[in-house]
Amino acid sequence: MLVTKPDAAAGARPSRGAVRIAGVTKRFGDTTVLDGIDLSIEAGEFVTILGPSGCGKSTLLRIVAGLETETAGGVAIDGVAMAGRAPNARDIAMVFQSYALYPHLTVAQNIAVPLRMRALTPLQRLTGLAPREVRDRIAADVRQVAAMLRIEALLGRKPAQLSGGQKQRVALARAMVRRPCVFLMDEPLSNLDAELRVHMRAEIAQLHRQIGATFIYVTHDQVEAMTMSDRVAVILGGRLQQVASPDRLYRDPDALAVAQFVGTPRINVLPADRLDLPQARAAGAAQVAVRPERLEILASPDDGGGKLKGRLVHRENLGADLLLHIDVPGVPAPLIARTDPTTGETLAIGDELGLAVEPRHALLFDGGGRRIRP
């Protein structure tokens, strides 16, 4: 591929698009939606804001966009405070969950709106009389971005004639055409069917590499967060819980809530006294969490001292994996173990099983759900 961008050629980070969110708090009346969020995003980074619906993640994105005003704190882009700036004066673009295409305009006209708003005077927009070179430049920009997203064939259509995936591409094109340094995406894939979502996931990640701008991506879908981003910021109940790489977030969570939110099936949580772990006792841990794939099934229930024993209550064969639901006395919810289907072949519902956890794979948490690191 021909590389045209000097930045990309040098492999260097782009110089524009660093976003700093400092102490951002948002209250609606008595309800605190966001509570002192601090988050620094480097130029060119792909950061996903992950959280369940209602956690305030969309509000945070809308504050960065300027569509919502923060109660306290502030947002700065490349060191410039954004307070009081209109959304279009922030050099950012946003892709909406519903795509928000203008239904009466063609695809080409939709994509051209941000350019027309900037390049033409109100009178020129109203009368349609603009200098030829300005109009040509807009048309060329529209064609270029359409080619990049492979939607040239759709330029003459209206949004109602497009499929979900096509609308998504048009929305991306409209965001990209202005070449902003920050892209905000609010659950952009949630209206697509499963197959298309997987496809667009790859496409958006590729687009990010190609244009090298900062992406801030909001989703409740942990798979999207894990597969696309450089770093993931987990927000739960209006508080930023942890910002880390997807890998780190999964292996080394800061809080029990994060450990439970990330990963399917959910992480297993046991009272610390059910596991005979010296380091848990030493640290005074209240709870121990173990990923399903780290829960070992012992050959016989009495192996390994037989400390943790349970009864198989349910099995789910996913093809590549077999999930075993095991009822352990003294543990509220059944533990889930992810095993190889072949090893679980001989097990039947109702069997007694012995379980073991390697100490280095046990995550320790105190009574407040905060991580205790060795």
Binding site: A93, F96, S98, H104, V113
Partner: protein
Amino acid sequence: MSGRGSVLLLTAPAMLLMAVFLIGPLLAVVALSFTNYQLGQPSLSFVGIANYLEMAEDETVRVSLGNTLVYAAVVVPASVALGLGAALLIEAEPSLRGFYRASYFLPVMATLIAMAIVWEFVLDPRLGVVNVVIKSFGWKPVDFLHDRKIVLFTLCGIGVWQSVGFNMVLFMAGLTAVPRELYEAAAMDGAGRGFERFRLVTWPMLGPVTLFTVVITAIRAFQVFDTVQVLTDGGPNKASEVLLHTIFAEAFNFFRDGYAAALVVMFLVFIVALSAVRLFVLGRGRTA
């Protein structure tokens, strides 16, 4: 039961009611329009298209049709534009929204006959508030209801006053249906406020509501009657004669029901044409 049989059976009650209360009377009116029927007369005879020929020559009908068209031409654009303006202003500012909404809607709910009497007082050349104000500026009082050149426009004014609230409510309903994300997209694109936002989002999204409002207002304008009957009785010298009032006079003052029926048929053609415009435009919008 077969599919066709059950369809017929299930639609029968509605069909029957429609036939009895809508289609039947309509056909009766069309039939009457070809007779010389007079209210109270024991017999009637077929006169062919004589009523329609008379209608074409009738000076009163020509004046009244012209007045009705002028009335509609003033009331429709004015009350649609003012209704839209009121809806936009009220929606833009949350405070006192309920109060404004209710006060604009009041004329719609009020009985127009009663309101017409109030208007008669307000517009009275000697005692009316409006003329008191005019006189306080040192100008000559205006006889709003008896001046041939003014009376029709006075009625237009009252018509606008009465329709604005209704149109406003329609537009408000339309405004709430505009997706918020579209406004936000416009804000990101640089059309976040004022006229640009209106042109890019609000106006196009209100298209179907606007069409509906225009057609409904036009049909109501064609049906103007109460104010004319109470305030002017079509006068002075037919200056405020309108279609429905002419029909009423022919049927119930002169008892010429056959002729009145012919007028009703003409009136109906206008109303159907307006509805057809709406259906046609909506249908086109759906396929586009």
